[in-house]
Symmetry: none
Subunit: 412 residues, 2 copies
């Protein structure tokens, strides 16, 4: 069975300042196409260390993916290290320089002379095109092993992997089939999901079901291994059907879908619109909605009424309600949703008001207390929550819970 190894390059990794999200991303992608990753080697921006890591990785596996060290500065030495491993020299490529110069020209900037170094490649290697940046990637054959070198900037690395490398690797791995499928859940805890799932999640089963959690989003990874793709696909489908029966509408989506995406698609299909009025989440809910391309089809307007004054002058809440019940109350949440919907002329409006901390909590209204309102033409629904965690966690939980309330409303 073919396998892969990943080499990550960068002082910022070994200093502990940056998490290696690239290695995790590539590992997931490779596994899902039937190429298990057997090792990661992480080294500093140093020619000898990189050359050694490339050597070790190609001892470990058939395919080596490398990220980092392709930038224009003196500490970007991956090109040199690869040339050292291959025992060749660096060659200047005129057409690469022209591309890099064009990249700067399109933004009306003169190319800094440093960037010239990015037009050099080890002799005998080929280029991987980089649409988003100036650092071209490199493909090299090293004995029987294939080495792919990509920039460390995640957006550039991902685009290059998906467009240039994934199709090549897919061809290489025929005969070994792994099917991976992710189900995304929201609305309960990881341990509650595990309890509902029973022995489905036991180790050593095939398909294997793993569970990860982040910001309240619980992801189930169904991983089936079989001699051919069809069998693996069928195994995953059977498991998926079974899990969907158990978890019902705790499952909001699949693959990389976000809650905002799923809600947006539903609104788009129903030709309906939404507006938001936020206090403690301070724009985060609007941001999640507008993360999705095409959100202008259904997202009309958002108010970040952070101060009480803004709630009164901009949304038209009454001073009395805020004085009587407080800015963080069911009543305020209900009015915020109602007024936002009316002012925006939208089909739905969501409101969030709460105490995100770290200060501002009282015995009656502790940190983490959040009221969410959901208004449509017929009624206004409000819900009270107490979220735990730090400011960032509380804000994200509140915004995602608000999206989930609208999702469940749209399923009716």
């Amino acid at each position: 069975m073919k396998s892969a190894s990943i080499v990550s390059i960068g002082n910022e990794l070994l200093n502990g300042q940056t998490l290696d999200t690239n290695a995790s991303y590539l590992s997931q992608e490779l596994l899902s196409m039937g190429l298990p990753v057997v090792s990661w080697h992480t080294v500093a921006d140093d020619t000898d260390s990189i050359a050694r890591a490339l050597q070790l990785a190609s001892e470990d596996a058939d395919i080596v993916l490398v990220t980092g060290g392709l930038g224009p500065t003196d500490d970007d030495v991956t090109r040199k290290a690869l040339a050292k491993l291959l025992n060749v020299s660096l060659e200047f490529h005129k057409e690469l320089l022209e591309k890099i110069e064009k990249h700067f020209a399109s933004r009306n900037i003169t190319m800094p002379s440093n960037n010239r170094i990015q037009a050099y490649l080890p002799a005998g290697t080929r280029v991987i095109e980089n649409k988003w940046g100036t650092a071209p990637g490199i493909v090299a054959q090293f004995g029987t092993k294939l080495i792919f070198v990509l920039p460390g900037v995640p957006i550039e690395m991902k685009q290059m992997f998906q467009e240039s490398i994934a199709p090549r690797l897919a061809k290489l791995v025929t005969g070994q089939a792994v099917t991976v499928r992710k189900l995304r859940c929201f609305g309960t805890s990881e341990s509650a999901i595990a309890e509902l799932m029973g022995d489905m999640m036991q180790r050593g089963r095939n398909p294997q079901v793993n569970c990860t959690a982040a910001s309240g989003i619980i992801t189930l990874h169904i991983i089936a291994t079989a001699e051919n793709k069809n069998t693996a696909d069928e195994m995953v489908q059977t498991a998926e059907k079974f899990i969907k029966n158990i978890l019902g509408d705790l499952i909001y989506g699949e693959g990389e879908q976000t809650l905002a995406q799923v809600v947006g698609e539903k609104l788009f299909k129903r030709k309906q619109t939404v507006a938001v009025a936020e206090s403690c989440t301070g724009g985060l809910l609007a941001k999640l909605f507008t993360d999705i391309p095409g959100a202008s089809e259904y997202f009309t307007c958002g108010w970040v009424t952070y101060s009480n004054d803004a709630k009164i002058t901009e949304l038209g809440l009454s001073t009395q309600v805020i004085e009587k019940y407080g800015a963080v109350s069911e009543e305020t949440a209900a009015l915020m949703a109602q007024k936002a919907r009316q002012k925006a002329g939208a089909d739905f409006a969501i409101s969030i008001t709460g105490i995100a901390g770290p200060a501002g909590g009282t015995k009656d209204k502790p940190i983490g207390l959040v009221f969410i309102g959901l208004s449509d033409a017929q009624k206004i629904q409000t819900k009270r929550f107490i979220f735990s965690g730090d400011r960032e966690t509380i804000r994200m939980r509140a915004a995602l819970t608000a999206l989930n309330m609208l999702r469940l409303r749209l399923q009716i």
Copy 2:
């Protein structure tokens, strides 16, 4: 100079399901006590792979820190791998079993028989106490090298590192002091910074200056190594002064400071307020402002006027201006900032309107075109930008650039 290498063990890492926060944590801690980390090796729960990684790590460095694979299940084989490396057998420790049994008894649970395996250690190694879990850590001498093995559960690993390992290592590294300082920059490219810095960033210098970039934030890491802490501190101070002279107000802050934090502190000190009106960033700028605890002192109100209608009805822009110049124009940006400031009664208002993509670009108004407006009582300033990258990158660049415009205004 002594150095360290980290071995991380776990299928969940190589599957891409879990980020290796342990390696980053340990690297930061080790560096701050004068032990630079030169490599990470990450392998699966497999005896031979782990033994090889331990071998490689002890070739790389004097101190090896290992996390993971100490649990009670069949795939926890780090103990076996260490025994293999050391060429010794596993020995049963009665007192360890008693401790593990006690751990369960204190929670009124009968110890599962699996956990018995955690009472075995490679012959000749010693125990590191684990206060929070059942997996004891291990210290082993391997030739001249020292190997510390810790569980992968972050809370257990951190407690054991801080209480048992850090004090031991601190003794080992006397005579080597490292001081690290970060300067945060915004407003130009990584390569332009490198050019300005000249030979300050050359490899092998002491202090060493490294440069990383994320979302347009460029971070300079100044790392000085000296015989004692005072000297290292002084070396960093001298370098810092020098760099500040060169880069001037390209440097916006230090350490972990964000642009929103720096701007917030300035507003707070000046007792001034800000409002925002966003189109393409869809709430992101408001979100960045309100990420900061206490933002209610200076952030009053935000409008996410995503549709043209909302720009007209909520901010009071004239239909004519939008029809004549378009929603993405200098004129619209200027009016959005002016109206937002007036409506909110704030000292400043920032507006953002642009095309974040991936669709919606034209030849005259390409994807990435963004106008930012900044209004105060005296004047309205607008600026035109073309940002490259995907939707997320363009939105983040636009929001950070807007914050930076206000930062520079507040410095006057």
